[in-house]
C-alpha cells in the first residue's frame, strides 16, 4: 500500500475547504460572479473550480501511478523518457509524384527530422491504381501516388532504410505497402529484420471514423492477423498496427470517446490475434497507438496518462499478458487538424505549439505538428519548416523535456486522469455488452456517438458557448493571404503514363501467376503477407492485387446514417 493521503489529513483538508468556501469564496462570488455559468472542456466535460487531495482520496502511488517504465506506466513507458532520447519528430508528408515526395523527404531529413511518415493519395488508400476511373482528379492530391514497387523505389531513393524508421498511413492495403517497403529495403541490401517503422493497418477505425475501407470487417481482420503472424517471424522491429484515435477525434468525438473507441479497437485486435492462435506476448509488444493532440491542454494530457494506465490494466488483467512489453502503450501524436482555421491562418502556429506541448507533457513517443496552411491545402515547405521548428523549440528551449511527467501529482491532473479512465471504462463495458467492437461497428454505435458529439460541438460554437479565435470571436474582415502548395495537374498525366509503361515492361506472365497465388491464398487461408511480398517483387500493382481480393472478399457497405 502506498496511499498518498491519510484519512486524518483528508478530514482536515475537507473541513478547511468548507470553511474557505463559506468565509472567503462565497463572499468573493457575491461581489464578482465567475466568468461563465459552467466551465467545461472542448469535449464538454465539466471542469470543477478546484481540486484538492480530497477529490482523489484513494490515490495509491505505486498502484495508480508507479515509476516511469513501471506498471501501470501512468508516468511514462520508459525509465529515462526524454532525458534519454527525445520523441521522434515525424512529419507526415507526401504529395504529387514519388519523385516530388522523395525531394520533400530529403529536405525534411536535412532539417533535422528524425523519422519519415508517408501520406498516400486517395486511390492508393482505397486500393485503386492511378489509371482507374475512380482515381480521376485525385492523383497525387492528398498524398503521394503509389501504384507499384517502382514508385516506392523512387520515394526512398537515397534514403538508407537501415537508418530511418518509416511510418505509413495505410489501412486496407497495408500489407501490400509493407511488402513493397520490405522489397525496397532488400534491394538496398537491408534485410527485413533490420527495418523499423509502422503501418497504420487499423481498419476498425476506418469503419468508425476515417472511412477509407475496402473489404468488410471480418476478412479485413483476417488480413491483419496474417500480417501479425508474418511480422512476428520476419519483421520483428515493425509496429504492425497503429491503433488510431486521431481520426476518431477529427471526426468530432470527445476526448473520452477517442480514448475509449481506440482502446476498444485495440482489444478487438488482441482478441483476433488470440483467436487466430497467436501467443499474446508474441505480437502485443508490436502494437502501437496514435492519438490526437487537441486544444484543451489538460484534458489531452490526462487522456494520454489514462490511456497508458488503462491499456496496461487491460493487457494484464483481461488478456493475461505476462511480458511488460505487452503492457506498454507507446504512441504517436498528431496535433488536431480540425482545430485549425482558414481565418487568420498564422494563429494556427500558436494552436499547434500548445497542442504539441500537451502531447510532450503527456509522454508521446513521436509527434507530427500540423502546418499553418493545412485548412487550405497540403503544406508548403516554409509552413512545414515552422511546424518542425515548433517541436525543436519545445524540445530544446522550453525545458519541459528535462524531467519526467512534470504534471504528475497535480491534484487536478490526477483527478482528471482518473475521470477519463473511469468514463472510458464505461464505454468499454457498453461495447462488451453489444458483443465486441466489430458488432458495435455493425450496429453503428461508435459512429453515432461521434456524429452526435460533432453536432453538439457545432451547436455550441454557433451559440458562442465555445470560442474559436478568428472564427466566432475576434473576427477580422481583411486577411492577408498566405502562399499555398499547388499540385500541378500534370502529375496525374505523368503518373498514369509511368504506370502504363510499367505494365508493358514487366513480365506479365509472372504477374498473372502471382495474382493467382494471391487469390488462392485468399480463398484457402494461406498467409497473404507472404503472397504480397512475392507479388509486389514482380511489379504486380496495388490495384491488381486489391482487385483480386475484392473478388474474393467483397466490399464494405457503410450504413451512412446521419
Amino acid at each position: 500500500m502506498s496511499r498518498l493521503f491519510d484519512a486524518d489529513a483528508l478530514q482536515e483538508i475537507i473541513a478547511s475547504r468548507e470553511q474557505w468556501t463559506r468565509e472567503e469564496l462565497e463572499r468573493v462570488l457575491a461581489r464578482a460572479p465567475e466568468r461563465l455559468p459552467r466551465f467545461s472542456t472542448i469535449s464538454d466535460l465539466e471542469i470543477p473550480r478546484l481540486r484538492t487531495p480530497a477529490n482523489t482520496p484513494d490515490l495509491d502511488y505505486l498502484r495508480d501511478l508507479g515509476l516511469p517504465g513501471q506498471y501501470p506506466y501512468t508516468r511514462g513507458v520508459y525509465p529515462s523518457m526524454y532525458r534519454g532520447r527525445l520523441w521522434t519528430m515525424r512529419q507526415f508528408a507526401g504529395f504529387g509524384t514519388p519523385a516530388d515526395t522523395n525531394r520533400r523527404y530529403r529536405y525534411l531529413l536535412e532539417q533535422g527530422q528524425t523519422g519519415l511518415s508517408v501520406a498516400f493519395h486517395y486511390p492508393t488508400l482505397m486500393g485503386y491504381d492511378s489509371d482507374h476511373p475512380r482515381s480521376l482528379g485525385e492523383v497525387g492530391r492528398c498524398g503521394v501516388a503509389v501504384d507499384s514497387l517502382r514508385d516506392m523505389e523512387v520515394i526512398f531513393d537515397g534514403i538508407p532504410l537501415d537508418q530511418v524508421t518509416t511510418s505509413m498511413t495505410i489501412n486496407g492495403p497495408a500489407g501490400i505497402l509493407l511488402a513493397m517497403y520490405i522489397v525496397v529495403a532488400e534491394k538496398q541490401g537491408v534485410s527485413s529484420d533490420k527495418i523499423g517503422g509502422t503501418i497504420q493497418n487499423d481498419i476498425l477505425k476506418e469503419y468508425i471514423a476515417q472511412k477509407s475501407w475496402i473489404f468488410p470487417p471480418r476478412p479485413s481482420m483476417r488480413i491483419i492477423t496474417d500480417i501479425l503472424a508474418y511480422c512476428t517471424e520476419h519483421v520483428p522491429r515493425w509496429n504492425t498496427i497503429s491503433i488510431s484515435g486521431y481520426h476518431i477525434r477529427e471526426a468530432g468525438s470527445t476526448a473520452v470517446q477517442e480514448l475509449a473507441f481506440t482502446l476498444a479497437d485495440g482489444i478487438g485486435y488482441v482478441q483476433a490475434g488470440i483467436d487466430a492462435g497467436l501467443d499474446v506476448d508474441a505480437f502485443a509488444p508490436r502494437l502501437s497507438f496514435f492519438f490526437n493532440a487537441h486544444s484543451d491542454f489538460f484534458e489531452e494530457i490526462a487522456k494520454y496518462r489514462a490511456a497508458r494506465r488503462l491499456w496496461a490494466r487491460v493487457m494484464k488483467e483481461r488478456f493475461g499478458a505476462s511480458k511488460p512489453e505487452s503492457w506498454k502503450l507507446r504512441f504517436h501524436t498528431q496535433t488536431a487538424g480540425c482545430s485549425l482555421t482558414a481565418q487568420q491562418p498564422v494563429n494556427n502556429v500558436v494552436r499547434t505549439a500548445l497542442q504539441a506541448l500537451g502531447a510532450v507533457l503527456g509522454g508521446t513517443q513521436s509527434l507530427h505538428t500540423n502546418s499553418m496552411d493545412e485548412t487550405l491545402a497540403l503544406p508548403t515547405e516554409e509552413a512545414v519548416t515552422v511546424a518542425l521548428r515548433t517541436q525543436q523549440i519545445i524540445a530544446e528551449e522550453s525545458g519541459v523535456a528535462h524531467t519526467i511527467d512534470p504534471l504528475g501529482g497535480s491534484y487536478f491532473v490526477e483527478w482528471l486522469t482518473d475521470k477519463m479512465e473511469a468514463d472510458a471504462r464505461r464505454y468499454l463495458d457498453k461495447i462488451d455488452e453489444l458483443g465486441g467492437i466489430i458488432r458495435a461497428i455493425e450496429l453503428g454505435f461508435p459512429q453515432k456517438e461521434i456524429s452526435d458529439a460533432a453536432y453538439h460541438y457545432q451547436r455550441q460554437l454557433e451559440r458562442q458557448e465555445k470560442v474559436v479565435v478568428g472564427v466566432n470571436k475576434y473576427v477580422m474582415e481583411e486577411e492577408l493571404p498566405i502562399p499555398i502548395l499547388k499540385i500541378d495537374e500534370e502529375v496525374e498525366r505523368r503518373q498514369v503514363a509511368a504506370l502504363q509503361q510499367l505494365r508493358q515492361q514487366r513480365d506479365n506472365e509472372e504477374v498473372k501467376r502471382q495474382l493467382r497465388l494471391v487469390e488462392e491464398a485468399a480463398r484457402d487461408g494461406g498467409n497473404l503477407m507472404e503472397r504480397f511480398v512475392d507479388a509486389v517483387r514482380v511489379y504486380c500493382t496495388l490495384g491488381e492485387i486489391i482487385g483480386v481480393l475484392r473478388e474474393v472478399f467483397g466490399e464494405y457497405q457503410d450504413p451512412a446514417m446521419l
Binding site: E138, Q210, G252, T341, T375, E462
Partner: protein, 135 residues
C-alpha cells in the same frame, strides 16, 4: 395561400475521401431547419450523385469534398445534371477549396462554395434565398 412544399436537398460526398464530419453536420443542420435532406454516404461518383438527385427529385445538391479533386468532380456533377435535363437543380459545395479555385467552379455552374469555418446558419440562409422548389 398554399404553403410551399419543403425544400429537398441532396447532401453528397463525391470522390474517395472519407471526411464526412462536415457533410453530416450540414445535413443535420438543414434538416433541423425544416428541409428534407437525403445523404448519399461516402465515395460517390458524379454519375451516382446525378442518378440519386434525379431519382429523389431534389431541388439542390450540396457537395462536400476534402481531397482536392473538386475541380474535376464538381463540374462533372453539374454537367451530368444538365445532360439529364435537370439543369434547374442548384449545385453548391464546400470543403478544403482554395480561393483561387472558386471562380473556376462558379464558371462551371457551381452556385456557391462554402469554405472552412462557415457557420451552418449562413448555409441555411443561403439555401433559403437561392433554392426554390422545382415545378
Amino acid at each position: 395561400m398554399a404553403e410551399e412544399r419543403k425544400l429537398r436537398i441532396l447532401v453528397a460526398k463525391p470522390g474517395l475521401d472519407g471526411h464526412d464530419r462536415g457533410a453530416k453536420v450540414v445535413a443535420r443542420s438543414l434538416r433541423d431547419a425544416g428541409m428534407e435532406v437525403i445523404y448519399t454516404g461516402l465515395h460517390q461518383t458524379p454519375e451516382m450523385i446525378v442518378a440519386t438527385a434525379i431519382q429523389e427529385d431534389v431541388d439542390a445538391v450540396g457537395l462536400s469534398i476534402m481531397s482536392g479533386a473538386h475541380n474535376v468532380l464538381f463540374p462533372a456533377v453539374v454537367k451530368g445534371l444538365r445532360e439529364q435535363g435537370a439543369d434547374d437543380v442548384v449545385v453548391f459545395g464546400g470543403g478544403i477549396i482554395p480561393d483561387d479555385d472558386i471562380p473556376r467552379l462558379a464558371e462551371a455552374g457551381v452556385s456557391q462554395v462554402f469554405t472552412p469555418g462557415t457557420p451552418t446558419g449562413q448555409i441555411i440562409e443561403w439555401v433559403r434565398q437561392n433554392v426554390r422548389p422545382r415545378g
